[in-house]
């Protein structure tokens, strides 16, 4: 039951992009086509889950016992940067088709604040455990995927629309994101 609540909360109520504002850069940048946004979502799901597992263990078993928890920002970002590189190298060797699908997105993920954000947020979960943190990361990456794919499919339609000159480009995208966020606001109070 508790896990279902985490899932619904992360995907709909506190959607990571539309209500917590994490991962806005890829949300605005890699959302021109539905196919690329699916690839990006897959890469985020992969990296976010692994990164949260590693940083959670690092924090609980190395940083806290050593009294170094103030180093979490520095150590987490380094772990994530190294992890992305490692995942890239391993994917290339182990599963070339998966690498082909996700490869281009992997370097971008280091600077995706959603990954670092979720890794830090996962430390603050109530009665936290490794399993819960992992599940939290997966639920949040599903929320990211939902927002990104929805946004990309709206943007594909937007290309055919007649938009006023001043609103073209960035402003109309932000406005669409705002309306999408408004729709997600309707889930408030669900859990």
């Amino acid at each position: 039951m508790e896990y279902i609540v985490i899932l619904i909360a992360a995907v709909f109520v506190n959607n990571i992009v539309l209500s917590q504002f994490l991962g806005i850069c890829p949300f605005l940048g890699v959302s021109n086509k539905v196919s690329t946004s699916i690839g990006m979502s897959g890469a985020v799901l992969f990296v976010m889950t692994i990164a949260t597992i590693v940083t959670y263990l690092l924090y609980q078993y190395i940083l806290v016992p050593a009294g170094l928890d103030y180093l979490k920002t520095i150590s987490f970002i380094l772990v994530i940067a190294a992890l992305v590189q490692m995942v890239e190298i391993m994917l290339k060797k182990v599963s070339p088709p998966l690498y082909k699908a996700l490869g281009v997105f992997l370097p971008l993920i280091t600077t995706n604040c959603a990954v670092l954000g979720v890794a830090i947020l996962a430390l603050g979960l109530e009665n936290g455990s490794l399993l819960k943190a992992t599940f939290f990361a997966m639920a949040n990456s599903l929320g990211f995927a939902l927002a990104l794919i929805l946004f990309a499919s709206i943007k594909e339609h937007l290309e055919l629309a007649n938009i006023p000159k001043g609103m073209k480009g960035v402003p109309i995208n932000l406005l669409v994101a705002g309306l999408l966020s408004l729709a997600f606001l309707g889930f408030t109070g669900l859990v």
């Binding site: 920002t73 604040c113 402003p171 932000l174 966020s181």
Partner: protein, 202 residues
């Protein structure tokens, strides 16, 4: 031989022509996430400005010692160090702001403006120009965040910097304090900014 840089232009470009928020669209997460009030936006802007200036100074000083292959991780460590400093200072001296900004303080590390300036400017130029560049970019960010914060606070709460402008039980657009309002307010501010700058630059 480094070509002479016009310092005045170097400073101004971050505020108008290459404004990080309205023109380059960098650092969107804190821009949208913390600007529920003018004060929060201003605080976030200043914290980012500090990290930007300090990391630009250090990067510019050590640029010749860092092998170019590992420069990005090296820059990230430098930035993360100053972010940790900011985090601890805010927690100790401005606990109210620390609570408000929350997760977005450690996330200054992944703010693309800072890494972007380190890579594009500080790693190629001397210390003095890098400081000017960081101040210009940082001020552009502070101004943008303060304007966005003030707009949202005014429309959503009827006040600016906690100074109440409407009567106590006036109906304000609460939506502008909620997440959707961030996107909508920024969309229209970008339109206005583009209109104004296109008039100035022709």
């Amino acid at each position: 031989m480094v070509s002479k840089i016009n310092q005045k232009e170097n400073f101004i470009k971050g505020i108008v022509k290459e404004n990080p928020t309205f023109v380059l669209l960098l650092g969107m997460c804190p821009t949208l996430g913390v600007t529920t009030s003018a004060f929060n936006g201003f605080g976030m802007g200043v914290a980012t400005l500090f990290v930007l200036v300090m990391s630009n100074i250090v990067v510019s000083l050590v640029k010749n010692q860092i092998p170019s292959k590992v420069r990005i991780p090296a820059f990230i460590i430098i930035i993360a160090t100053f972010v940790t400093v900011v985090e601890m200072v805010l927690e100790a001296f401005v606990p109210f702001l620390y609570e408000q900004l929350g997760i977005f303080i450690p996330l200054i590390v992944v703010n693309c403006i800072i890494l972007g300036r380190a890579e594009a400017f500080a790693s190629k130029n001397d210390v003095f120009s890098s400081i000017i560049d960081a101040f210009g970019m940082g001020l552009g960010f502070v101004i943008a965040l303060t304007i966005l914060g003030a707009t949202r606070e005014l429309l959503g709460n009827g006040s600016v910097f906690d100074f109440k402008l409407t009567s106590e039980n006036a109906n304000t657009f609460i939506i502008f304090i909620l997440p959707p309002g961030a996107f909508i307010a920024l969309a229209y501010l970008t339109v206005i900014f583009n209109k104004l700058t296109s008039k100035i630059t022709g």
